[in-house]
Protein backbone atom coordinates (compact mmCIF):
# COMPACT_ATOMS: atom_id res chain seq x y z
CA UNK A 1 0.00 0.00 0.00
CA UNK A 2 2.84 2.36 0.92
CA UNK A 3 4.50 1.38 -2.35
CA UNK A 4 1.38 2.29 -4.32
CA UNK A 5 1.11 5.67 -2.58
CA UNK A 6 4.76 6.33 -3.35
CA UNK A 7 4.22 5.40 -7.02
CA UNK A 8 1.16 7.64 -7.15
CA UNK A 9 3.11 10.58 -5.75
CA UNK A 10 5.85 10.00 -8.29
CA UNK A 11 3.32 9.89 -11.15
CA UNK A 12 1.74 13.11 -9.86
CA UNK A 13 5.17 14.77 -9.80
CA UNK A 14 5.91 13.60 -13.32
CA UNK A 15 2.55 14.93 -14.48
CA UNK A 16 3.31 18.33 -12.96
CA UNK A 17 6.71 18.30 -14.63
CA UNK A 18 5.12 17.53 -18.00
CA UNK A 19 2.60 20.33 -17.48
CA UNK A 20 5.38 22.83 -16.77
CA UNK A 21 7.28 21.69 -19.88
CA UNK A 22 4.10 21.99 -21.91
CA UNK A 23 3.52 25.56 -20.70
CA UNK A 24 7.08 26.61 -21.50
CA UNK A 25 7.29 25.12 -24.98
CA UNK A 26 7.66 27.59 -27.84
CA UNK A 27 4.49 27.96 -29.88
CA UNK A 28 6.19 28.74 -33.15
CA UNK A 29 4.17 28.26 -36.33
CA UNK A 30 7.25 27.94 -38.52
CA UNK A 31 9.97 25.33 -38.91
CA UNK A 32 13.11 25.75 -36.83
CA UNK A 33 16.47 26.37 -38.47
CA UNK A 34 17.67 22.75 -38.76
CA UNK A 35 14.35 21.48 -40.09
CA UNK A 36 14.16 24.34 -42.56
CA UNK A 37 17.63 23.46 -43.89
CA UNK A 38 16.70 19.80 -44.31
CA UNK A 39 13.42 20.59 -46.09
CA UNK A 40 14.88 23.26 -48.39
CA UNK A 41 18.17 21.61 -49.28
CA UNK A 42 17.46 17.92 -48.68
CA UNK A 43 15.74 17.21 -52.02
CA UNK A 44 18.39 19.17 -53.91
CA UNK A 45 21.45 17.77 -52.16
CA UNK A 46 20.42 14.15 -51.79
CA UNK A 47 17.82 13.80 -54.57
CA UNK A 48 15.38 12.08 -52.22
CA UNK A 49 11.73 13.12 -52.43
CA UNK A 50 11.04 11.88 -48.90
CA UNK A 51 12.76 14.32 -46.54
CA UNK A 52 12.54 11.88 -43.60
CA UNK A 53 14.51 9.33 -45.65
CA UNK A 54 17.20 11.88 -46.50
CA UNK A 55 17.53 12.72 -42.79
CA UNK A 56 17.62 9.07 -41.69
CA UNK A 57 20.03 7.79 -44.36
CA UNK A 58 22.28 10.77 -45.10
CA UNK A 59 22.19 13.70 -42.67
CA UNK A 60 21.79 11.59 -39.56
CA UNK A 61 23.11 8.40 -41.17
CA UNK A 62 25.59 7.79 -38.39
CA UNK A 63 22.69 7.45 -35.93
CA UNK A 64 21.14 4.84 -38.19
CA UNK A 65 24.41 2.91 -38.32
CA UNK A 66 24.57 2.98 -34.51
CA UNK A 67 20.96 1.91 -34.32
CA UNK A 68 21.52 -1.08 -36.60
CA UNK A 69 24.49 -1.95 -34.36
CA UNK A 70 22.27 -1.85 -31.25
CA UNK A 71 19.81 -4.14 -33.01
CA UNK A 72 22.66 -6.53 -33.84
CA UNK A 73 23.87 -6.51 -30.22
CA UNK A 74 20.32 -7.17 -28.98
CA UNK A 75 19.94 -10.08 -31.42
CA UNK A 76 23.29 -11.48 -30.26
CA UNK A 77 22.34 -11.20 -26.56
CA UNK A 78 19.04 -12.98 -27.16
CA UNK A 79 20.76 -15.65 -29.23
CA UNK A 80 23.32 -16.15 -26.46
CA UNK A 81 20.71 -16.37 -23.70
CA UNK A 82 18.36 -18.73 -25.46
CA UNK A 83 20.85 -20.83 -27.39
CA UNK A 84 20.68 -24.60 -27.72
CA UNK A 85 17.10 -24.64 -26.63
CA UNK A 86 14.95 -26.75 -28.84
CA UNK A 87 11.30 -27.28 -28.26
CA UNK A 88 11.17 -31.05 -28.63
CA UNK A 89 7.43 -31.12 -28.94
CA UNK A 90 7.43 -29.02 -32.09
CA UNK A 91 10.51 -30.43 -33.73
CA UNK A 92 10.26 -33.00 -36.48
CA UNK A 93 6.51 -33.02 -36.72
CA UNK A 94 5.60 -31.25 -39.95
CA UNK A 95 2.11 -32.66 -40.02
CA UNK A 96 1.12 -30.86 -36.82
CA UNK A 97 0.08 -27.54 -38.40
CA UNK A 98 -3.09 -27.29 -40.38
CA UNK A 99 -3.05 -27.95 -44.10
CA UNK A 100 -4.72 -24.59 -44.71
CA UNK A 101 -1.93 -22.65 -43.00
CA UNK A 102 0.75 -24.62 -44.84
CA UNK A 103 -0.79 -24.14 -48.29
CA UNK A 104 -1.64 -20.49 -47.59
CA UNK A 105 1.90 -19.72 -46.51
CA UNK A 106 3.29 -21.13 -49.77
CA UNK A 107 1.34 -18.46 -51.64
CA UNK A 108 1.53 -15.63 -49.11
CA UNK A 109 5.16 -15.66 -47.95
CA UNK A 110 6.66 -14.73 -51.38
CA UNK A 111 4.08 -11.94 -51.70
CA UNK A 112 4.89 -10.62 -48.22
CA UNK A 113 8.62 -10.66 -49.01
CA UNK A 114 7.89 -8.86 -52.28
CA UNK A 115 5.89 -6.19 -50.42
CA UNK A 116 8.78 -5.72 -48.00
CA UNK A 117 11.26 -5.33 -50.85
CA UNK A 118 8.90 -2.87 -52.58
CA UNK A 119 8.62 -0.81 -49.40
CA UNK A 120 12.36 -0.46 -48.87
CA UNK A 121 13.29 0.03 -52.53
CA UNK A 122 10.80 2.93 -52.76
CA UNK A 123 11.93 4.43 -49.46
CA UNK A 124 13.23 7.62 -51.08
CA UNK A 125 9.99 8.31 -53.01
CA UNK A 126 7.13 7.35 -50.71
CA UNK A 127 6.52 6.68 -47.01
CA UNK A 128 8.43 3.59 -46.03
CA UNK A 129 12.01 2.43 -46.06
CA UNK A 130 14.43 -0.03 -44.57
CA UNK A 131 12.91 -0.33 -41.12
CA UNK A 132 9.34 -0.79 -42.34
CA UNK A 133 10.36 -3.16 -45.14
CA UNK A 134 12.54 -5.15 -42.76
CA UNK A 135 9.67 -5.49 -40.30
CA UNK A 136 7.37 -6.70 -43.09
CA UNK A 137 9.97 -9.29 -44.15
CA UNK A 138 10.26 -10.46 -40.53
CA UNK A 139 6.44 -10.85 -40.42
CA UNK A 140 6.72 -13.08 -43.49
CA UNK A 141 9.35 -15.16 -41.72
CA UNK A 142 7.01 -15.56 -38.74
CA UNK A 143 4.33 -16.95 -41.06
CA UNK A 144 6.95 -19.35 -42.43
CA UNK A 145 7.80 -20.51 -38.89
CA UNK A 146 4.11 -20.95 -38.05
CA UNK A 147 3.45 -23.01 -41.17
CA UNK A 148 6.45 -25.29 -40.73
CA UNK A 149 7.71 -25.49 -37.12
CA UNK A 150 10.49 -27.91 -38.05
CA UNK A 151 12.14 -25.36 -40.33
CA UNK A 152 15.75 -24.87 -39.38
CA UNK A 153 17.65 -24.51 -42.62
CA UNK A 154 16.69 -20.85 -42.83
CA UNK A 155 18.98 -19.83 -39.99
CA UNK A 156 22.17 -20.05 -42.05
CA UNK A 157 20.62 -17.92 -44.78
CA UNK A 158 19.53 -15.34 -42.17
CA UNK A 159 23.03 -15.06 -40.70
CA UNK A 160 24.76 -14.83 -44.09
CA UNK A 161 22.29 -12.15 -45.23
CA UNK A 162 22.80 -10.19 -42.03
CA UNK A 163 26.61 -10.17 -42.18
CA UNK A 164 26.67 -9.50 -45.92
CA UNK A 165 24.32 -6.51 -45.79
CA UNK A 166 25.98 -5.07 -42.69
CA UNK A 167 29.45 -5.23 -44.22
CA UNK A 168 28.25 -3.79 -47.53
CA UNK A 169 26.51 -0.95 -45.64
CA UNK A 170 29.70 0.02 -43.83
CA UNK A 171 31.65 -0.40 -47.08
CA UNK A 172 29.36 2.03 -48.91
CA UNK A 173 29.60 4.45 -45.99
CA UNK A 174 33.42 4.38 -46.15
CA UNK A 175 33.31 4.72 -49.95
CA UNK A 176 31.56 8.05 -49.40
CA UNK A 177 34.65 9.16 -47.48
CA UNK A 178 36.87 8.68 -50.53
CA UNK A 179 34.57 9.27 -53.52
CA UNK A 180 32.30 12.06 -52.19
CA UNK A 181 32.00 14.58 -49.40
CA UNK A 182 32.27 12.36 -46.34
CA UNK A 183 31.17 9.29 -44.36
CA UNK A 184 27.78 8.05 -45.61
CA UNK A 185 27.59 10.62 -48.41
CA UNK A 186 25.08 9.30 -50.94
CA UNK A 187 26.60 11.10 -53.93
CA UNK A 188 28.98 8.24 -54.72
CA UNK A 189 26.40 7.32 -57.36
CA UNK A 190 24.73 9.72 -59.83
CA UNK A 191 21.72 11.54 -58.37
CA UNK A 192 19.63 10.81 -61.47
CA UNK A 193 16.28 12.32 -62.35
CA UNK A 194 14.39 13.55 -59.27
CA UNK A 195 11.39 11.42 -58.39
CA UNK A 196 12.30 8.25 -60.30
CA UNK A 197 13.20 4.87 -58.82
CA UNK A 198 16.88 5.01 -59.82
CA UNK A 199 17.65 8.36 -58.27
CA UNK A 200 18.97 9.85 -55.04
CA UNK A 201 22.44 8.35 -55.45
CA UNK A 202 23.18 5.57 -52.98
CA UNK A 203 20.06 6.10 -50.81
CA UNK A 204 17.99 3.24 -52.33
CA UNK A 205 20.98 0.89 -52.11
CA UNK A 206 21.80 1.81 -48.51
CA UNK A 207 18.14 1.67 -47.46
CA UNK A 208 17.76 -1.75 -49.12
CA UNK A 209 20.78 -3.02 -47.20
CA UNK A 210 19.32 -1.59 -43.96
CA UNK A 211 16.05 -3.31 -44.82
CA UNK A 212 17.72 -6.68 -45.36
CA UNK A 213 19.75 -6.32 -42.17
CA UNK A 214 16.79 -5.25 -40.03
CA UNK A 215 14.67 -8.05 -41.52
CA UNK A 216 17.36 -10.66 -40.84
CA UNK A 217 17.98 -9.44 -37.29
CA UNK A 218 14.28 -9.28 -36.34
CA UNK A 219 13.83 -12.75 -37.87
CA UNK A 220 16.67 -14.19 -35.80
CA UNK A 221 15.27 -12.56 -32.61
CA UNK A 222 11.84 -14.09 -33.32
CA UNK A 223 13.44 -17.44 -34.15
CA UNK A 224 15.31 -17.51 -30.83
CA UNK A 225 12.16 -16.61 -28.85
CA UNK A 226 10.11 -19.19 -30.76
CA UNK A 227 12.60 -21.96 -30.09
CA UNK A 228 12.89 -21.36 -26.35
CA UNK A 229 11.91 -24.34 -24.23
CA UNK A 230 9.20 -24.26 -21.60
Amino acid sequence: MVKKAFAFTLILGMGLLFYQLYRQRSTSTDLNKTARYYVENGPKETGSANVVTSVVVTYRGLDTLGEVTILFVAASIIGFFLKNQRNRKLEGAPGETSELLHTGSVFLVPLIFLLGVYVFVNGHLSPGGGFQGGAIIASGTVLLFLADPSIGAGRGVIHVLESFSGMLYVGLAVAGLFLAGGFLDNRIMPLGHFGTLLSAGAIPVIYSLIGLKVGAELSSILYALKDAKE
Binding site: L10, T29, V52, I70, A74, F131
Partner: protein, 119 residues
Amino acid sequence: MTHIALAGGALLILIGVWGMLTKKNIIRIIIGFSLFDTGLHVVLVGLGHLKNRTAPIIDSDLPREAAASRVVDPVPQAIVLTAIVIGLAVTAVLLAFALKLYQSRKTLDISELREGNND
Protein backbone atom coordinates in the same frame (compact mmCIF):
# COMPACT_ATOMS: atom_id res chain seq x y z
CA MET B 1 -4.76 19.29 -32.43
CA THR B 2 -1.16 19.18 -31.26
CA HIS B 3 -2.32 19.84 -27.70
CA ILE B 4 -4.58 16.79 -27.58
CA ALA B 5 -1.84 14.56 -28.99
CA LEU B 6 0.68 15.88 -26.47
CA ALA B 7 -1.75 15.40 -23.58
CA GLY B 8 -2.60 11.86 -24.76
CA GLY B 9 1.06 10.93 -25.14
CA ALA B 10 1.93 12.31 -21.71
CA LEU B 11 -0.94 10.41 -20.09
CA LEU B 12 0.21 7.22 -21.85
CA ILE B 13 3.71 7.76 -20.44
CA LEU B 14 2.23 8.16 -16.94
CA ILE B 15 0.13 4.99 -17.33
CA GLY B 16 3.24 3.11 -18.47
CA VAL B 17 5.29 4.32 -15.51
CA TRP B 18 2.42 3.39 -13.16
CA GLY B 19 2.46 -0.12 -14.61
CA MET B 20 6.22 -0.43 -14.29
CA LEU B 21 6.17 0.69 -10.65
CA THR B 22 3.18 -1.15 -9.22
CA LYS B 23 2.85 -4.44 -11.12
CA LYS B 24 4.18 -7.70 -9.71
CA ASN B 25 4.32 -9.83 -12.86
CA ILE B 26 7.42 -9.20 -14.98
CA ILE B 27 5.51 -9.54 -18.27
CA ARG B 28 3.19 -6.76 -17.03
CA ILE B 29 6.21 -4.59 -16.25
CA ILE B 30 7.46 -5.13 -19.80
CA ILE B 31 3.99 -4.21 -21.14
CA GLY B 32 4.23 -1.03 -19.03
CA PHE B 33 7.61 -0.28 -20.57
CA SER B 34 6.21 -0.72 -24.06
CA LEU B 35 3.31 1.64 -23.26
CA PHE B 36 5.81 4.19 -21.91
CA ASP B 37 7.75 3.85 -25.17
CA THR B 38 4.67 4.41 -27.34
CA GLY B 39 3.66 7.46 -25.29
CA LEU B 40 7.13 8.95 -25.70
CA HIS B 41 6.89 8.51 -29.47
CA VAL B 42 3.45 10.16 -29.60
CA VAL B 43 4.81 13.15 -27.64
CA LEU B 44 7.85 13.50 -29.93
CA VAL B 45 5.80 13.33 -33.13
CA GLY B 46 3.27 15.73 -31.60
CA LEU B 47 6.06 18.23 -30.86
CA GLY B 48 7.10 18.18 -34.52
CA HIS B 49 3.57 18.71 -35.81
CA LEU B 50 2.57 22.15 -37.07
CA LYS B 51 -0.98 23.24 -37.72
CA ASN B 52 -2.47 22.74 -41.21
CA ARG B 53 0.71 21.26 -42.66
CA THR B 54 1.36 18.07 -44.58
CA ALA B 55 3.87 15.21 -44.53
CA PRO B 56 7.47 16.05 -45.60
CA ILE B 57 7.39 14.21 -48.93
CA ILE B 58 7.93 16.22 -52.14
CA ASP B 59 5.63 15.22 -55.02
CA SER B 60 3.57 16.82 -57.79
CA ASP B 61 1.16 18.39 -55.27
CA LEU B 62 3.95 19.83 -53.15
CA PRO B 63 6.59 21.69 -55.20
CA ARG B 64 10.08 21.94 -53.81
CA GLU B 65 9.98 25.74 -53.48
CA ALA B 66 6.80 25.80 -51.38
CA ALA B 67 7.85 22.85 -49.20
CA ALA B 68 9.39 24.81 -46.34
CA SER B 69 6.14 26.64 -45.61
CA ARG B 70 3.85 23.61 -46.01
CA VAL B 71 5.45 20.59 -44.33
CA VAL B 72 5.82 19.49 -40.70
CA ASP B 73 9.17 19.09 -38.97
CA PRO B 74 10.95 15.97 -40.39
CA VAL B 75 13.57 15.66 -37.63
CA PRO B 76 11.37 14.27 -34.81
CA GLN B 77 9.89 11.81 -37.30
CA ALA B 78 13.36 10.55 -38.23
CA ILE B 79 14.28 10.22 -34.54
CA VAL B 80 11.07 8.34 -33.70
CA LEU B 81 11.60 6.03 -36.68
CA THR B 82 14.84 4.72 -35.18
CA ALA B 83 13.48 4.88 -31.63
CA ILE B 84 10.65 2.46 -32.46
CA VAL B 85 13.09 -0.16 -33.76
CA ILE B 86 15.35 0.30 -30.71
CA GLY B 87 12.27 -0.03 -28.50
CA LEU B 88 11.48 -3.39 -30.10
CA ALA B 89 15.08 -4.57 -29.55
CA VAL B 90 14.97 -3.53 -25.87
CA THR B 91 11.58 -5.22 -25.39
CA ALA B 92 12.97 -8.39 -26.98
CA VAL B 93 15.97 -8.40 -24.62
CA LEU B 94 13.67 -7.85 -21.61
CA LEU B 95 11.44 -10.72 -22.74
CA ALA B 96 14.45 -13.02 -23.20
CA PHE B 97 15.60 -12.18 -19.65
CA ALA B 98 12.09 -12.81 -18.30
CA LEU B 99 11.96 -16.17 -20.08
CA LYS B 100 15.37 -17.17 -18.71
CA LEU B 101 14.28 -16.13 -15.22
CA TYR B 102 11.11 -18.18 -15.52
CA GLN B 103 13.09 -21.22 -16.64
CA SER B 104 15.38 -21.11 -13.59
CA ARG B 105 12.91 -19.97 -10.89
CA LYS B 106 9.53 -21.15 -12.28
CA THR B 107 7.87 -17.88 -11.36
CA LEU B 108 7.49 -14.37 -12.75
CA ASP B 109 6.22 -12.72 -9.56
CA ILE B 110 8.87 -10.24 -8.44
CA SER B 111 7.78 -10.46 -4.79
CA GLU B 112 8.89 -14.13 -4.82
CA LEU B 113 12.18 -13.35 -6.54
CA ARG B 114 14.34 -12.10 -3.70
CA GLU B 115 18.11 -12.18 -3.66
CA GLY B 116 19.43 -15.29 -1.90
CA ASN B 117 16.11 -17.12 -2.23
CA ASN B 118 17.82 -19.56 -4.54
CA ASP B 119 16.08 -22.89 -4.12
